[in-house]
Structure formats: structure tokens, C-alpha cells
Amino acid sequence: MNPIYWTWSAVAADMGLLLSPLVSSTSLLSFWAVLITHALVTAVAGLATYLMLPRRFQQPRLAVTLLMFTFAFVAPVIGAIALLVMVRANLRKPVEDARFAVPLSLDLPLYDVQPEERHRSGQGAIRSRLNEDVPSAVRMQSLLTLQAVPSKVSNPILEELLGDATEDVRLVAFGMLDAEEKKIAKEIRYESERQHRQLSKAQRYDSLRRLAELNWELVYACLIQGELRQHILRQARAYVDEALALSVPPGSGLVFLQGRILLELGDAEGAERAMLRAMDLGQPKTSALPYLAEIAFQRRDFSQVGLFMQQLSSLNLASRTRAVEDFWGKRDYEINYRDRKYLPHI
């Protein structure tokens, strides 16, 4: 029940007590009965009005409650009513103030933002701005710039910065790498859990392909090194093998991925077979031929490299591959340098 009703009930009870014949009785028993009943009724009124007080007036709790009680006790009925009036007035004041306040129409400021001073850097400048002899504020800014650079390029730089002498730089670099790794690991967990469910062959194939791609992504984005890298590569290969063992027509992308994983694991022959098969399955030559050339190069079979490069010459190539193709096709003239960016990244 609302405390205000408790207070009014207490006031009514006190009033009833005052009008009762007990008050006019002269016996000791009547005196005690009146006193105790009045004390009880007053306690109710005191507690109820305490609860109605704004929170900022409720401390210290015991002292305030006692004050309320005493006020109501020494002045029967009138004391409790006075308490109520006081509390109501207090409660109402801010509401009344707010009600009668004249609303102001505040004008929102105009969008007159000062543009930042621009010192845009090309990607090539970032590495030099990360050197340890550069002021730390500049280094931190450059570090943040790496967020806008493809992870394949930025991660090796971040990886180097893990050994930086400045703790801030180390930790921000770690945070950036960790956030990326976490994203991939989350997806790996999701797909791994899916593997335990009842899946159709096609669904299992897709899930295994996804797992292989995600593990490969850890390697490709340079998020893992050393022994662990080899371990993840072997795991990726296992997922590809498992997917290919399912009697589902394989996509060229998965076989191409198999080739790249095998090449990273040092199995050049297996990689070559996979690349050729991927092309048979429809993998674009622009993506598979450079790897085939690389494998031939590793074998020191330079004439074969030339043949693969020749096949590339008529295709629309990325500028970096075009530079290599020009070299093998003996078109590596200085005049060509101006037209292309050999290293569009760092």
C-alpha cells in the first residue's frame, strides 16, 4: 500500500483514539492503553512519512525516522498532518517548478567543425614513421593508420612491433593482431561445432571447405608463425582432404586452395598436380599459372617458367604479376616502370 494511505490511516486511528472514551478515563490501565496505541500509530505515521521523503533527505536513516516519530508523537494528529504537508510540499516543489518553468527553445549549434590539418601519408611512409627514433605520438598515429591497410601487408609490420621497446606500441599492435585472430578463431569454433551436427554431404563439404579456408586465412594473414604455422597448415590440408574425399563434385577453388597449402608445406609435386587439376575444373589461369611458374622455378626448370609466363602474357594481370611477366617475356624496359606501380602496397 502507498505510504500516504498508511499515514492517513494512522492519522484517522489517532483521531479515533483521541475521541474514544479511553482518553477521559482516569484508570492507569486506560492511560497505558492510550499511550501505547498512540505510540504504535505514531510509529506507523513516522515510518510512512520517512518512506515518502526524497532519498537525499533519508540519511541518516535512524535519526530521520526518530525525528519523524517524535514530531508525530508530541503533537497527536496535528504532528502527523504537519509531517504530511511538509513532505508533500517538498515532493511537489521540483515538479511544480518544472511545471511552471518556461520552456526554452535551445538552438543546436551549426556544424561548423574545423577540418583537421591534413598530412596524408602514402603507405610507404608508414614503416619509416614507425621507427623507434620517431616521437611516440607520431608512431601511435602511424600504427592506427595500419588499420586501413590490408592485413596481409599490415600484420607482418604489427608482428615486428610486438618486440618494440615502447609498451604502448607493443600493446596496441598486439590488440590489433589479436582482434583479427579472434574474429577468425570464432568462425573456426562455429564451423567445428557444426561438424558434430547431422549434415548432408553437401553441407559437410561446405563446412569443411570453410574450415580449410579459415585455417588458411590464419597463415595467409601472417597471424601465426613457426611450428604453429606448420600445424595449422597440416590441419587445413586435413580439412581439404576430408572434403575432397566426400563424393561431392569438388569446386575448383578448393582444389586450388589444396595446391597453395601443399606448396606452403613444401610438397611442390602435390601442389603442381592440384593446380593443374584446379585449372581443369575451371580455376582462372591468372590465379593458377603464377603458382605453376613458381613451382617450376623452384625446380630450376626455367624454360617451363617461360612457357607459363608466355601463357600469362595475353591475360589481364595485376600490376605486380605483370612486372614479373614482363621480365620473363623480355619486355622489362624502363619505359614501362612509369605506367605501373610495382609495389602498390608497402
Binding site: 515538479v95 549549434p109 618486440g163 608463425q225
Partner: protein, 498 residues
């Protein structure tokens, strides 16, 4: 009360290095009557107390900066011109990054007016036209982010804790010395208490609060950046990020100006305090110390053969980078198949991260090698351990390394905080004791594994490291040394007369 400790997010509700240190300090001075104020963010962020309260802790006050306290009712209110001019003066000092030592007094005087009946009550900040005009003016003058709405709410959020801290300062019992364990909000509470009660303020920093906040803020995803694609320059930190960073830098600076003694755990941290504006003559280093005798008796319980157990002792939280430890085990078990990795620490603080660690162990086929033991008594654990491993990305002066040394266990640690100093010693006599383990780069599982293998696979090398560790901890990191230095500081400050 003799000393009132000002704690932000640590003892007694959060377990960890700083909390253990606070517990150690209170118990180490049974003749001093301590009090403590715990400052938390919100009540729901903390669980039960993690420490039994020492008998000489005579007062514990818990306050939450973003708790459920009432916002004053909306009402028309006028601001005093003189006070607003003072507000402007203080802000222009901060906004222009001016290092003015008087800022401590200016700030404290401003906060004197921040009471419900003062000229700078919260109502004035929230509802006065002058406050609105000042926010508008500041936005026009300084903001490089186009959203005024975000600017307005950021300013409100940033400033709100000050009124709360003032309330806490008013309700704190008087003490003869105030001792903050970090800058930030606890430090500002110390500034207010010092100003109000005219008693000395000490500051002991384990990590550097400003640096830690900065790193968090650089990576925070919740900060808005409303620049258009044409304006957005990735090399420029967004305005609100800068605003928050500057805010914590200034909290640190004001605290450094107010503190009479500024203690760091090791020299690199002291240098960082100087860089952040601490007056050099007030700074000193007091390294952590441990109860060596308690752990020394464990040496006799050790098996003569070094157990091939790598143990990471610490909370399972991201800052400990437990994943790197797990990843390192791929290499370790390849060369030492019987090796085991134990992770001994509570997991409640970041259960999601703990699960990620378990999943990683399973994903790497290490479910039988990596054991999650939960919280363990070190006296039971250390005799069974071959190496104490610390893969953290950030630490100050970790007690677990020292405790391992005292029990005869060398360490492999990442190169963070004072770990290099703990392993190789400071130049001179300390370094002459030899290496008591290995130090590797952070987040480098291969290096961590190779360092661990170098010690575990070579008993003679392990023994040399163990001996060096024992000698180092006995000579430089016994708790008596730390207590003696703090006693001198406490006595001087307790006797201070205005």
C-alpha cells in the same frame, strides 16, 4: 584512522597482483589502523569479496562511480558568472595541454563549489543555460567531430563522476594519511580528500593507470567517429578518442601534482610517471617483496628430477595472453612429449576468454596436455612445477615470479614490466647473480617454447637458473625490505603537520 587506502577496481572485490599487494601491506603493518575506499564502476560488475579483511582494516567504504544514484530533478537553475569563468580557466588549461602545477588547487577549489548548495552543483552543470552555452562554445572551438549530439553526451559522461567523487570524499572518515593505489578516479578522490582535510596524499602505482587507459582507448570500439569518408584520415585519432585520452592524462597529472610521495615499482615505470608530469623529487621506486621463508620451505619437498610441468599462475584473462602459452605447447610437446601445461588461476573474471582458451587447446590437439586447474594454493602447487611461465602482454612486477624463485622454480617470462630485471637483474651485483630464467618477446609462441625447452631439457641449466632465482629473491625482493621502506614513508607522513 591512520591510513585511508583509495582503491579503484581492486581489493577486496577483485583478485590479482595489486589486490594481493594491498592485502600484504595492510597485514604487514598491524600497528597501523587502515581504512579503504573501494571505487567500482557499477555494482553488478563485482561479486563477493575475494579476501578476508585484516583485523587492522577498521573501515571499508564501497562506492560506485556509475551506480544507480539519482540524477537531480530537472529544474531551472542559473549559473554564477564568476564560477563559469573559473570553469573556463580550468578547461583552457586542460584543453591546451598546459602543464600548470596550480591546476590541482584550481580543480579542488572548483570542486568545493560542486555541492548541492554550491555555485557549481550538478544541477548547474546539467540544466543551466550557461553550461549549455559553454558546451556549445567548446564544441565550436575544439571539436573536429561533426556530431554535436555525441559531443554533448560525451562531455556529460566524462564529467559526471566528479560529483559522485565529491560525495564520496564528503562521506569518507578523516584519516592522517591518504594513500591512492592508482591515479584515475582513485587519485582524484585523493586530491579531494587532501584538499578537504589538509592531510598528505601518497600514491603507489603498480601499472601506470594513464598508459593502461590510453591503450584501452586506442582500441575501444564504442567510441564514435562521425567523420565522413572524405574527412576520415586513418592516421588521425578521432576527436572523442582524443578527448577521453586527454581526460585521463589530466586526471593523472592533477594527482601527480597533489601527491607528496609517488612510488613506482621499477625504474621504467618511474620514468613514465615523470613523462606524464610527476615532479621528479617526489618519485621513488619500491619493488614488491614476498614472504621468502614461506616459500623457501617448499624447496625440500621438490623431487630431485625436474618435473616437466610448465605452470602459468594467474587469472585466466586476456591480458595474461594464455593463448600464446597454449600455442607454445604445440612446439614443446613435439620435442618433450611428456611435458604438461598447467594453468592455475580463477576463470570467473572472463569466462568467455577461458572458454576460448579451452577451445584453442582442443583445436590444437592439446586437450590432454593443457590442464586448467582453477585457483590453487601456491604452496601445494610450486613443488610439483618445473617452470613458472608468464605469457602476459602487460605486467608490472609480478609476484608469482618471485614466489616461484623462493620455491626454487625458475621462470620463462615475456619481456614486459620489470620481468627482464627480475630474470637478468639490475646492472651490477644483481646481474652478477646470473639469469634466473629466460625472457621472450610477447605473443611469440615459438620463442616461449624454445626458452622453456632450453631450461627443461638441460638439468644443469635449470639448476643454475633456480639457484640464481633463490639468491635474487632473498637479496632484493624479500618483503621486509619493502615493509621497511613503506614504514619510513608512512611514519613521515603520519607525523606531517600542516
Amino acid at each position: 584512522m591512520d591510513v585511508l587506502l583509495l582503491l579503484e577496481g581492486t581489493f577486496p572485490f577483485v583478485a590479482g597482483g595489486v589486490s594481493s599487494w594491498v592485502n600484504q601491506i595492510i597485514r604487514g603493518f598491524p600497528d597501523i589502523r587502515f581504512g579503504a575506499v573501494f571505487l567500482g564502476s557499477r555494482p553488478q560488475d563485482y561479486g563477493d569479496m575475494r579476501y578476508a579483511l585484516p583485523d587492522n582494516l577498521v573501515h571499508l567504504q564501497v562506492a560506485y562511480i556509475y551506480g544507480d544514484h539519482e540524477t537531480p530533478p530537472i529544474m531551472p537553475v542559473d549559473a554564477d558568472d564568476e564560477t563559469m569563468a573559473m570553469v573556463e580557466d580550468v578547461h583552457s588549461l586542460f584543453e591546451t595541454d598546459m602543464r600548470a602545477p596550480q591546476c590541482e588547487h584550481m580543480f579542488a577549489q572548483l570542486m568545493d563549489e560542486a555541492g548541492p548548495d554550491g555555485k557549481l552543483s550538478q544541477e548547474v552543470f546539467l540544466y543551466s543555460k550557461a553550461s549549455w552555452e559553454y558546451i556549445k562554445k567548446s564544441y565550436r572551438r575544439r571539436s573536429t567531430d561533426p556530431s554535436f549530439v555525441d559531443y554533448f553526451w560525451t562531455i556529460r559522461t566524462i564529467h559526471t563522476p566528479f560529483w559522485r567523487l565529491r560525495e564520496v570524499a564528503l562521506s569518507c572518515p578523516k584519516a592522517r594519511v591518504y594513500h591512492a593505489i592508482s591515479t584515475g578516479y582513485a587519485g582524484i578522490l585523493g586530491v579531494l580528500l587532501k584538499h578537504r582535510n589538509k592531510r598528505p596524499l601518497m600514491l603507489s602505482e603498480h601499472g601506470i593507470y594513464v598508459k593502461e587507459r590510453k591503450i584501452d582507448l586506442y582500441q575501444a570500439q564504442w567510441l564514435k567517429d562521425n567523420r565522413s569518408v572524405f574527412d576520415r584520415d586513418p592516421s588521425r585519432v578521432s576527436y572523442f578518442r582524443q578527448l577521453w585520452i586527454r581526460f585521463f592524462e589530466h586526471l593523472g597529472y592533477v594527482t601527480y601534482q597533489a601527491a607528496g610521495d609517488i612510488i613506482a615499482l621499477y625504474e621504467a615505470n618511474r620514468q613514465r610517471q615523470l613523462q606524464d608530469g610527476a615532479p621528479p623529487e617526489r618519485t621513488a621506486n619500491i619493488p614488491n617483496g614476498i614472504d621468502v621463508a614461506r616459500f623457501a620451505q617448499l624447496r625440500s619437498q621438490r623431487d630431485p628430477v625436474v618435473p616437466k610441468v610448465l605452470c602459468l599462475i594467474g587469472r585466466v584473462v586476456p591480458i595474461k595472453d594464455i593463448k600464446t602459452f597454449i600455442r607454445a605447447m604445440v612446439t614443446v610437446v613435439k620435442h618433450l612429449p611428456e611435458a604438461q601445461a598447467w594453468i592455475a588461476g580463477p576463470e570467473e573474471e572472463a569466462p568467455e576468454y577461458a572458454q576460448e582458451c579451452r577451445d584453442l587447446a582442443a583445436q590444437l590437439g592439446l586437450a590432454d596436455t593443457v590442464k586448467f586447474l582453477g585457483f590453487q594454493q601456491l604452496t601445494d602447487l610450486l613443488p610439483k612445477v618445473g617452470l613458472v611461465v608468464l605469457s602476459s602482454i602487460s605486467e608490472a612486477l609480478p609476484l608469482v615470479i618471485l614466489e616461484g624463485y623462493a620455491a626454487g622454480v625458475p621462470t620463462v617470462s615475456t619481456d614486459v614490466g620489470s620481468c627482464r630485471q627480475l630474470v637478468f637483474g639490475l646492472p651490477g651485483e644483481d646481474a652478477a647473480l646470473g639469469a634466473s630464467g629466460r625472457v621472450v618477446r610477447i605473443a611469440d609462441p615459438d620463442a616461449l617454447a624454445q626458452a622453456a625447452l632450453a631450461l627443461l631439457a638441460d638439468e644443469a641449466e635449470w639448476q643454475r637458473a633456480s639457484d640464481a632465482g633463490i639468491r635474487r629473491v632473498e637479496k632484493y625482493y624479500a618483503q621486509d625490505i619493502m615493509f621497511a621502506r613503506y614504514r619510513a614513508l608512512y611514519e613521515r607522513n603520519l607525523q606531517w603537520q600542516a
